[in-house]
Symmetry: C2
Subunit: 407 residues, 2 copies
Amino acid sequence: MLQSQTVPASFHIEATAGKARAGRLVTPHGEIETPVFMPVGTLASVKGVPQETLEELGAQIILGNTYHLYLRPGVETVRRMGGLHGFMAWPRAILTDSGGFQVFSLNELRKVSEEGVTFRSHLDGSPHFFSPESATEAQIGLGADIIMAFDECTEYPADRGRVRASMELTQRWAERCKRYFEEHKKEGLWQKSGQSSVASGRRPAGSEAIEQPGNGPVDHRPPATGHCQSLFGIVQGGMDRELRKESAERTIAIGFQGYAIGGLSVGEPRALTREIVESTLEHLPEDKPRYLMGVGTPEEIVEYASQGVDMMDCVLPTRAARHGLLFTSEGKVSIKQARYAQDQNPPDPNCGCRVCQRYSRAYLRHLYASNEMLAQVLNSIHNLSFYLDTMRRVRHSISLGEVRLSF
Amino acid sequence: MLQSQTVPASFHIEATAGKARAGRLVTPHGEIETPVFMPVGTLASVKGVPQETLEELGAQIILGNTYHLYLRPGVETVRRMGGLHGFMAWPRAILTDSGGFQVFSLNELRKVSEEGVTFRSHLDGSPHFFSPESATEAQIGLGADIIMAFDECTEYPADRGRVRASMELTQRWAERCKRYFEEHKKEGLWQKSGQSSVASGRRPAGSEAIEQPGNGPVDHRPPATGHCQSLFGIVQGGMDRELRKESAERTIAIGFQGYAIGGLSVGEPRALTREIVESTLEHLPEDKPRYLMGVGTPEEIVEYASQGVDMMDCVLPTRAARHGLLFTSEGKVSIKQARYAQDQNPPDPNCGCRVCQRYSRAYLRHLYASNEMLAQVLNSIHNLSFYLDTMRRVRHSISLGEVRLSF
């Protein structure tokens, strides 16, 4: 039993089409069909969208940001509330980033050393320190199904010497993350299935884990199948194909349950992003999930899936929604425009989501123009539905062996 | 057939307990069990709450504000989109106020004359004019099931001469509203059931009106039962019991399908509000619905129902929710307080709403402290659920003949 508690997520490829793969990632909180798009819930909430709606939309895994959760409400609070699953009442899978990219985004507020990163909170300027060990410890406390190594995201542009030095630092940090994780992974909350007293306060004692979306108390602990958290490594190397290859090989040598491509979408031209993704993918193992961090538009997630990426996340669907931009089967719709003021059509005539089935463009335009909160809620639901539907179509195409994935 | 189109809402009392009544108000868009609480959807949206959630909560009728809708998106736009029902995709009953109270709230931006009120938009300062006729015309265009006479809401405090003059003006305006309504009520949109081409663009031609919450297109036109809009009169008279009595008698003499008590909650002590409500109710007919405008706390809506009020509305549940105040069976919970940071209990342990069934106080506190939009959404859903449940309990008590209604 104790041994079985150290089984990480498993991954199986079920179909391929060219370089694209349709797979199944088994996590302690459910199976994930890949390629998968992961909605971003930075502060333990996908902005404006209740968890029961995310379930209805078919979201299989969502993302949380360690940097933000570390600052608010704090790792210890989340841990005491049953980890992220218990705290936010989300029974399906969760992935947390390591905070590396978030800290990178702080620019002047951070200072990098061999040991880790000193940074100041964007909230109150208070000083903090993240190391590979502390970032991994925080993620064990948050209790996501998949956690990420703490890396340095190299700025763009950067000269080759700087990119190599940064990549080397990420490799040393990756080793430290792996070591810390192996020594401490059994301290995770929900790994102690069937024994832990930390869970939703409303779960009847001794009850089995049953997923009951929107209908009665939800037990957020995984069934006692002996799974534990999985640690993914992150490949860096800037925009240099050789350094990316070296980073991939060295990260694989350390050994992780999955491999992410980090350090992209940091200001470089989109064609360069594609080139680096494509070349880096060639060096990643076939039998492990491949996660491209922080992309992209609907067209891009289809393209990256066709290149062999299994997992993606992006704030774009929800952030764009809050600014009145809808993604539809007919292209982008800027719902704030006056041309939609009397448009009785649904946002997307080919979409089956609850927003498109009920509301008109005229109504969504009115909500946006009137600063009604419901605008952001409904726009976010539709955009997430569009992204998740897009990925479902991609998976279906791959399972049919279609090499050219259409958007 | 033409004659049947002029049948207004009908009202039947099914049980009484002391002064309290349990009734049934039949509108073109469904039956309403009274006493009823009406959530406020000022701009054709109950702030932060999707219409499908309002249906799930059991809201039978919601309120829209003519003043706000007249400014944005404009009456003609709403009319072309199938009236408020079609525009906001709400198949159940709607009541619109006349704009009288809203214009009163503008203070320095308004000027009252015998003809009507000149006022400036709170949005852009543009000049506008509401008369009894134009306010009624606007409400016919918006197409709510129940519309209100255009009144002058008397300021508080005011001397007796001022209150009498204001009440007399309201009476003259009430006569003009009634006259205009009788002459124009057949011009309403959905009165032409089975013939109108103005309806949801997604309704299959010739289909019957079927309510399908959250599942496929909704037809927002009423079934062809021959109903039309109902016009309610408003009793004014400030804090003077004699003037209230006179206003009630003169309003009844004009003849409306229901009677509202307006001009309260304008700054007077709450005990005085109660006294005026109680005395005014004595002068209203037993067989017509009685609507107390703009109240109140959960305790107050129970008390007013026990006095014989049939309909109430208030922004309090949603406004308080946006400020982190929850109404619960154990009293008010200010969810922003640090004491709830690790409280795993649901917001209200005795509440069956989707929020209380799923989320903890700790999570709601975190969402509020982190300025997450979901805080406002979930708090609003719970507070509305609490108000609507409270009214359901009150109705049940009345049907059992319980004179003392408990909160």
